[in-house]
Symmetry: C2
Subunit: 502 residues, 2 copies
């Protein structure tokens, strides 16, 4: 964390103290100021020294679990276990409390009974720790008593300047330094470094409950907001907008704490990178369910819809889209327009993709005359979009050569902004190695729908395709919907750059 | 095939000959008559003797491939390979042509160059074979010349009464007798017997291109329509409506050959079992793509929409729904109404499920007072729907006991017609063995959304849950959407049974 940011935090804390002493509401100016100190969260994601308080019992769901995961991932920083009744764990010296640690602690991770949390956080703040993740549950989400404990945490944060993520969170994950703070044993090591920043208001949409490694999501950072007692979506938008490792922000939200700050920060983030938001609570019943889950009011959905449109946020509408759509931004260039080409191994897939593409605002382009004549040399049936390779594939000795010829031809067409390719996982993967460089020269996004009869083989193929730089999907329509979202962001971005034009 | 059906087939052929000799259009009465001989397709799905013509080269995509798959699956009938230049294959005697086979042949499977097909089918018809699957490609879907060859096949069928599935098809699959006719090597053996009848107008939506074994689809029959030169959706509706092994018909269509017959047969099928149809071609572009794929006009989508509504067909809207939604009918009883209960391990999933449930026409039920008090004994936080077990699960030594207590309690509530359960794949599977009998007594449908961090473990859990009789999903919203479709069919069915009431 830079010098300015530390001053910023100090000032925030002082300002809050002043306002509190005057018994006045903290003005929005404070929020705006905090937004400006955009390195606020660097200690959460890029700590050097991390203290972990809690049970050292060798099982899932404990402080031990947190550290085991960190070690398995190969976290590059220092780890300091804290527990009064233990001397050593996982080859690390255990300290009775934070004061005994004779080193700089950037981040404290706490997974202890809720009633004990405020005191521990207070001691962290006194020690000079500026960031804490409270994994423990049993706060505002659980009971009135828990709500009071959570208020104490907020008070400590405001008084001391220590920032708190949670409580009731799995914390964060960072593929740059292999930091992971979830307590449930993951059983695998480091993830592939990528550029999607995922944030969610529920553990269900983070790393603890999804096959993020097996499905090769190209992740930069993950954050579980938990109860959002302090750190919330505005902070994450600020941090991820500036994070050079993050190319796309994908956020699940059940409520928005401060609409005005959110909109300001969202607009700033959207000018830099796509911001995709999956926000359920569209109807009264789900808004009520959200309220009982997080204790916050979800608000009128039309207001959210308007706010998203105004700021250029793109709204996703399903759990699957939350995970899958951002892939296209992580590995692909932005399309210059919305004209899509479809290259398929089965006519049936072509029809379904066209249906979905039109629904997503894409145009089924017509190829230029030159392209058509070149395609016609390969087969007179290839001139239309979708290009259905199926009938030719089945009668060729070397079907992969058709893919290798058709895909670059189609992508080079000036009438084509982006393409989706339907391919059998397993059989056709080798051609993508050779296609890769020819495609990347053209700077147009390509998604791949991968099908097959054997799950393990398909999953392995998808991982290979992802590592070759293709955005790869197992769901047919999602492969083209992702391109629709990419084209939508491209339009939003050029509207921002040419306000008169849009 | 029964005696009546044989007479029926004979009469059809005679009738067609008479009409053709008079050079008059075949009247709809013919079609209706054919519809009545509902056992028409039994030779395709339940043959005793099967002849397979084509290349005996030991590779995928040949007649060899067809027979290898049949043997791997353990087909219970007799197999007769036909090839003039080969004596034995896969331990079976090879015959030079069909006339040399001194046994009854119910079904001929043909995978030879298109120009040779008409003659072979003619010989089959002369030999008395009443059903043929033409797997070969290169007919109407490929060229004008192919179209002429296809017309010849139709002529032979009309003159002789031999029914033809295809050309350009992977044929059929039947889990009762382990018949499978696709030529591409599947590399696995028999599937679990189930009760979904899948039919599709594209290989993409059948057994040759989807992990039907790994994802444990409970299948009774599969049929790829191919070019629909003869056998089409009306025949399949007729056959599957009567098939005792099929509880739900799930059909992908790009066009409908004969609207009137289709509607009559659909209405008859819907009165017996749910008919789900996935029909792309909603917009002009995709209708055009469908036309170029199958050579048939997709027609105005509003007409289809109306026809589906009138007959009680339920329209599915995605490739994923095509595969996943019918699970609920295969293993679950029909719900008596549309009031859903949600039992979840994460509050976030609960909110998303409520959102989707309302969209699907389900009602988030309120539990009865007795249920609430019993739930409150377990935790005061359990009284609302969704029941979020998350906060309790994480602090319990034996979290599975909560599932075991809450699920039967909730399902027994008179205000609950159906339920969706969110569960970690792997950890909680054992409890479902003990829950199974308690749940089945209540005769209410239950779907399970299975999450986790390890794909292989999740897939194994899903297979276990399916084998225990639970409809299991990896996609969150689909788990509740399937219940919405089940409730919709339940309403349609009671409307048919009580026409005044609906």
């Amino acid at each position: 964390m830079g010098y300015t940011a530390i001053i910023g935090l100090y000032r925030n804390a002082r300002l809050v103290q002043i306002y509190q002493s005057l018994k006045r509401e903290i003005p929005t100016g404070y929020v705006r100021f905090r937004m400006m100190s955009h390195n606020d969260l660097s200690r959460f994601f890029e700590p050097e020294g991390v203290a972990v308080s809690g049970s050292m019992q060798a099982r899932s769901g404990t402080a031990y679990g947190v550290m085991k995961n960190m070690l398995d991932f190969g976290f590059s920083g220092r780890i300091y276990p804290i527990n009064p009744s233990c001397a050593e764990v996982l080859g690390l010296k255990v300290y009775p409390n934070i004061d005994e640690i004779d080193a700089n602690i950037d981040l404290a991770i706490v997974i202890i009974p809720p009633t004990a949390v405020p005191e521990v956080i207070q001691r962290c703040a006194q020690k000079g720790v500026r960031a804490a993740i409270v994994i423990s549950e049993g706060f505002a989400e659980a009971s009135e008593e828990g709500g009071r404990l959570q208020s104490q945490l907020v008070d400590i944060s405001r008084r001391s300047g220590i920032r708190i993520l949670g409580p009731n969170t799995l914390g964060v994950l960072n593929t740059s330094n292999y930091l992971v703070t979830g307590p449930y044993l993951l059983g695998y090591n480091k993830l592939v470094k990528g550029s999607i920043g995922y944030c969610a208001q529920s553990g269900l949409l983070t790393f603890g409950t999804h096959p993020v490694r097996d499905r090769a999501y190209p992740i930069s950072k993950i954050c579980d907001f938990g109860n959002k007692s302090d750190v919330n979506e505005v902070d994450l938008l600020a941090y991820l907008a500036d994070d050079p490792d993050t190319k796309v922000i994908c956020m699940h939200l059940e409520d928005i704490k401060d609409g005005r700050s959110f909109m300001e920060m969202a607009a700033r983030a959207v000018s830099r990178k796509p911001v995709l938001i999956f926000k359920p609570g569209r109807n009264e019943a789900s808004a009520r369910a959200a309220a009982s889950h997080t204790g916050a009011l979800a608000g009128n959905d039309e207001i959210h819809e308007d706010a998203f449109k105004q700021t250029g946020i793109i709204r996703l509408s399903s759990w699957q889209d939350f995970w899958e759509v951002p892939r296209v931004f992580a590995s692909q260039p932005l399309p210059k327009g919305n004209r899509v080409a479809i290259v398929t191994a089965t006519g049936g897939a072509g029809v379904i993709l066209v249906d979905e593409a039109v629904r997503d605002g894409l145009v089924i382009t017509e190829f230029k005359t030159e392209t058509k004549s070149k395609l016609a040399e390969l087969s007179p049936r290839f001139v239309n979009n979708p290009v259905d390779l199926g009938p030719i594939l089945s009668v060729m000795d070397n079907p992969s050569s058709v893919y290798e010829e058709v895909i670059p031809l189609v992508l080079a067409d000036e009438n084509v902004d982006c393409a989706v390719i339907v391919v059998h996982g397993g059989l056709m993967i080798p051609i993508f190695s050779s296609l890769r460089s020819r495609i990347s020269q053209l700077s147009k996004p390509v998604t791949v729908f991968c099908y097959g009869i054997n799950l393990a083989e398909m999953e392995e193929s998808a991982r290979q395709l992802e590592s070759l730089g293709f955005a790869t999907y197992f769901d047919l329509e999602t492969a083209v919907r992702a391109l629709g979202v990419a084209a939508a962001y491209s339009r939003i971005k050029s509207g921002l750059q040419n306000p008169g034009y849009a």
